[in-house]
Symmetry: C2
């Protein structure tokens, strides 16, 4: 027999999983709840809903249409949150611009995504000014003056608040195909240009529903839910700020958007608004510790999800000593991002074991299947010993790299998304990342292309051959280390190695985070059996101390 | 411009929202977790997954196909849970048979759903024996002997455990259209035969994800999550046991299935397995109190969601006094069922206000929109005063009453699902059910058709005219009250009124819960302005005490 299908009543409502519907219950239950921006302003959800309509109206006024890319360059703000909703809800595509990329790469990503409308915070006017001549598709730039009175740049179509105030809050949002693309952003890999990933309405709604899941049963890893006050500490241009702004809004929680991150202000906002939940990379957590020490901020009861790079056991213990409730998660740009979360055993009381559990990559959340495979896609055992590439299935994985058929095929080879991370999986499902296939350095939440960096270093005076690897760093997660074979008789200095790097930073060809602090001299670079430079061996040799899993 | 769609990589995995995928993370994370059946047996999830495969294999062996209805008549058991998964996962339709209906109505529902395979617990052999001659579609009956050794009935194809043991655990479950029907069951309304509702794979997955949502932030209404131990106290044939078996399995929780409800055993199981979460109608909660008093069971920390009918403030206070964490929810057969949940303000400390909040119908969960409307579908204000019919949109509402186009049209008139409940909505979204359009009496979780009952009463000796209304009852939620106009000079007795009711019970034409305990004599029945019998007025007159919202 064929599958059975119901015959819906003629007027039965067909419910699409579109981002618009994430607001359904918040509209009913949280009209008077507050959304705060820095120490500058706050408004109610009622006003927020109106401003979503206003943003859509003003964007339509400057030419936005369904299917068009609208790009945002802003710090974490209520405006960004408005764009998270308004842009996809009108059927356009929200592009979250990584403003930390070198300007030519920012331009590359805007052009590749065919961004036609830009929303730009005044801090990024110099960046936009520099690249605007190379952005042929852009037809409108909305300036975000952020409370200041200065003149608009000549290329600006108008100012966000002024245009918003003049626009109608009653934009006629409608239902449409849940498989339409809602968001796009770019991820920097080992080689070549940044790659575009996309997520559909359906994917983001499902991600929101699952990432909203429980944890409430475990004292060691309490849930995020009603009554919490949320402040993001992962930039909103990084993988949807891990999807949490969508969850917090769906739940109608009080939200605090901190603008540009300033450790003292973060602590003050956390205190003033009784923030209970945030998420960040380890580097930010360390900054919070420092700021708390300086300001006397009590961190007790602040729940933090840590991702982006490894949370060391020392960092985890320090956070717990200060009364914070931390746990680590694993995900990547290609995965929306949520894949797995640490989940301590409910009954566990041994602090060392709790910390050990909290600092793994955790276990998969609902609807996610993870496997480890060998090169031939054979599934390896979940015995805590076998190492293989971590591959994934979930409803919210990017279906491709935009416009890059070859990379897309590689990404989805064999019907599973390839993370390029090497992992073990315990019998209880705990995933531990052991190594990675791609040679990229994650520092303070930013990625440095090690191939590019070693090409630069190789041109430095006195260098015969060079390689760059990531080494664990207590503050930044990872930092680059140059491993150098000198020319005969040459003396290598850090300044000499950094000379070509500094030049590239000045040109905007590489991020300033690439500047080296450390190098090692060797007689020859280690090689694998097939003659490739053995980065894995170098990473092992030069890591300063054993570290927890790199998530 | 058209909406934008991505071009998926050729091998990108298209993830359907099918029930099979609810097992994805549990398979990774909970292989050694336990599922318990009464004080009889327990097994691991690993075995459970194998038994899902075995059940599918054995069903295929007796002729099950995609699209075919497989009906279950069992108490709450691990077997029922296996059927919750195996039947939909193989593309068949799981019918949850309401075994409390009168036998002719059970037969009606099985025939209407074209059930071809029955799984029947031995307690229901007499029922099946009585109706089997009137079930032309049935081609196989699997007997559930539940550990006893007796002979199989002659009509049985085989015994569940024996067939399961002989079947292969490796059934090749495959992905298919998420909009295929997964489950069906029947709801008894005011008039006519029971009506069939259906839910698709997509609907059940979405319901599971949302019902799995948080609450963890509120001390007064803690979440259900990892670390909890689950025991259903709503029958699994009632609206998917409110969907919780799907959630508990997705999360890989320890689960305890109590079989036929016996208050002492429920308390013992709760103690032995440290049950932390259940859900039930108020009547069951009262039974638990009694059993706890008799056995000395400490109820502290047991979280309970109450629905099906009103939780009175007195009952709520009593539960809290005993250390239970209770809250009420609202839903119905047509809604899968979750619509709304009580949600006390996180900061509320006043016990009276907490109890008042916990006993409303609460606020809508994510993706649900509720409105109150007048007869012309005009939306009424959410001011806590205006009363209108509660109408709903959500992704998991039944699209129709199976095979009943007229009732389906009425259900979905104007593009909203009509609950036939009259409600107010507060500005903060709190829904309070005030009355209802449909004249049905909910008693101990069962429904009595008041129209049918009053037709019976009207035939009693000495009765000129009669109406039957629901009145609140502390133990049963509601009980029927007959309002009677005697014939001139006639004396009315309870026995006389019950005589035709008893006859109908004996015939299986109406449930035994319809037997009357109370009646009122009036000179004439109250009428509305258009001459209809005013049941609303009678309910108001004869309610013994003011009650909280009837959910």
């Amino acid at each position: 027999m064929p599958l059975r299908f119901a015959e819906p009543a003629p007027e039965a409502y067909q419910f699409p999983l579109t981002i618009r519907h994430l607001l359904d219950s918040a509209m009913m239950t949280a009209p008077d709840q507050e959304i705060v921006y820095r120490d500058q302003s706050s408004y109610t959800y009622r006003e927020f809903f109106g401003r979503i309509g206003r943003l859509a109206s003003l964007l339509e006024g400057v030419g936005a249409e369904q299917g068009m890319t609208v790009a945002v360059m802003d710090w974490d703000s209520h405006r960004y949150l408005e764009a998270y909703f308004a842009v996809p809800m009108m059927g356009s595509v929200l592009m979250m611009v990584n403003v930390r990329l070198p300007p030519p790469q920012v331009a590359y990503t805007l052009n590749h995504a065919r961004a036609e409308i830009l929303l730009v915070h005044r801090d990024f006017f110099p960046l936009v000014e520099a690249i605007l001549p190379s952005l042929p598709h852009v037809k409108a730039v909305i300036a975000i003056m952020d409370g200041t009175e200065g003149a608009l740049p000549s290329y600006a179509t108008g100012e966000y608040e002024a245009l918003s105030a003049a626009a109608s809050p009653d934009y006629p949002f409608e239902d449409f195909d849940e498989n339409a693309v809602a968001t796009t952003f770019y991820t920097t890999g080992t080689t070549g240009n940044p790659k575009g990933v996309t997520f559909t309405h359906r994917q983001l709604v499902l991600h929101t529903l699952v990432a909203n899941g429980p944890g409430g049963g475990s004292k060691a890893a309490p849930g995020f839910g009603y009554g919490d006050v949320y402040m993001p500490l992962t930039p909103m241009f990084h993988v949807h700020a891990w999807g949490v702004p969508y969850i917090a809004t769906m739940l109608g929680l009080k939200q605090v958007y901190p603008g540009r991150y300033e450790p003292d202000l973060l602590c003050r906002l956390a205190t003033d608004h009784k923030v209970t939940y945030s998420h960040c990379v380890p580097t930010i957590l360390q900054m919070i510790f420092q700021a708390a020490d300086q300001t006397g901020k009590d961190l007790t009861g602040w729940k933090l999800t840590i991702g982006g790079s490894a949370m060391s056991k020392a960092l985890c213990s320090e956070a717990r000593r200060r009364g914070m409730e931390v746990l680590s998660g694993y995900g990547m740009s290609e995965t929306c991002p949520m894949v797995s979360m640490a989940r301590p055993d409910a009954g566990e009381t041994d602090e060392d074991r709790i910390v050990a559990q909290l600092t793994t990559s955790g276990v998969t959340v609902p609807l996610v299947t993870a496997q480890i495979v060998d090169d031939a896609m054979n599934v390896l055992p979940r015995d805590g010993k076998a190492r293989g590439e971590l591959v994934l299935r979930a409803p919210w994985l990017t279906p491709c790299y935009t416009g890059d058929a070859k990379a897309s095929e590689t990404l989805w080879h064999g019907g599973w998304l390839h993370t390029q991370d090497i992992a073990t999986i315990d019998p209880d499902g705990t995933i531990t990342i052991r190594d990675r296939l791609k040679d990229v350095i994650k520092t303070g939440g930013e990625w440095i292309d090690s191939i590019h960096l070693e090409e630069l270093v190789a041109t430095a005076e006195g260098v015969a051959e060079a390689s760059v690897v990531a080494i664990p760093d207590a503050k930044w997660g990872e930092r680059p280390l140059a491993v150098v074979v000198p020319k005969p008789g040459a003396t290598i200095t850090l300044d000499a190695l950094n000379a070509p790097v500094e030049a590239a930073i000045a040109e905007g060809a590489i991020t300033r985070y690439a500047r080296l602090e450390r190098f090692e001299i060797v007689a020859q670079l280690p090689r694998t059996s097939v003659g490739k430079i053995d980065k894995k061996a170098m990473r092992a040799s030069y890591a300063e101390a054993p570290q927890a899993a790199v998530a």
